[in-house]
Symmetry: C2
Subunit: 159 residues, 2 copies
DNA sequence: CATTTAGGTTGCGAATCACAACTTAGTCGA
DNA sequence: TCGACTAAGTTGTGATTCGCAACCTAAATG
């Protein structure tokens, strides 16, 4: 991933999904709220007391997450005071990013052995570390990566 | 991951690597600076002009990333004005999280087809989507996950 | 020796955060 | 049916942080 010609580097940096992801999830608390949602918390008061976040900030973040369609806001029919915030498919798509971050924090953070551990519910064995994998499943590191212009690939294939 | 008994839920939320990861990477620009580092940018001015970030903010972030030992700050011997910021192993460990975020942004963001594409340099084929995998390699989704208390597992195994 | 470059620092107004108090609508128990 | 309580916010206020521009210092360059 160090082998960039100049025009490619420009593209790689500007036409990248990262800024877009950060626009939705880059603010303080957003990831903590997402984690709470993954852990099954659905209500404002639940999240507020669990996270210890200020109420106005929580209201603002929930609003933004709903706007980004990461959460879905639905008033409860049985108790009309309550509101349910539920993960959308888009929100569920953030699972790998969240777990990768969490695992990094556990690996390189305080060195806590992390208990309870995240497991496959089928066999209750711990999940693998989240990694980048090649097309054929080989795990890849930074130096195995490269930016490839797909239009060039098509041109090459045509030769 | 919704099947938490109350004490387990407490643990899962408080004894979690996520807050620790966010302490290091949760501020605005941190991930963009990390991406720049992965793309081979090493110098202050390079990053500043590439990212369009304010100089004081960049200085502050680089300082924090060095403090967190995600980047390493080394004065260049050949030109003693220059300073090199290099990824540490700890910093490289953030690759999966960054790629996962980037892929999410590409998938759910503007819908841009993302060109150039991140590829395995060995065969120049696009990498897989970053996912959570079980111990045996099966890809897992949110509902396949569960928190397991390892001390309980040991107790169970002893039976 | 004057100019340019690299990597910052400083000052200041604008935006965001955090804490507490208040509000509004709906529920519950007597 | 009425007072107490709960859920989900909103408002006000001070403390932080952000972003921009200008400035600074040491080193290289011509």
């Amino acid at each position: 991933m160090g082998k960039l010609t100049e025009p490619l580097r420009e593209l790689a940096e500007n036409e990248c999904g990262l800024p877009c992801a950060l626009e939705a999830m880059g603010e303080r608390w957003s990831f903590m709220i997402l984690r709470a949602a993954f852990n099954g918390l659905k209500h404002f008061e639940e999240m507020q007391s669990s996270l210890g976040i200020a109420r106005n900030i929580l209201a603002n973040r929930l609003g933004r997450l709903v706007e980004s369609e990461i959460l879905e806001r639905q008033p409860c029919p049985d108790d009309r005071r309550k509101v349910e915030y539920r993960l959308t498919k888009r929100g569920e798509g953030l699972l790998p990013a969240m777990i990768a971050l969490r695992q990094w924090g556990e690996r390189w953070g305080t060195g806590v052995p992390s208990n309870p551990e995240l497991c496959d519910s089928r066999d209750r064995l711990p999940v693998n570390d989240v990694r980048v994998h090649a097309h054929d499943g080989r795990p890849l590191d930074w130096h195995d990566l490269e930016w490839v212009d797909q239009s060039e690939m098509i041109a090459e294939a045509a030769e």
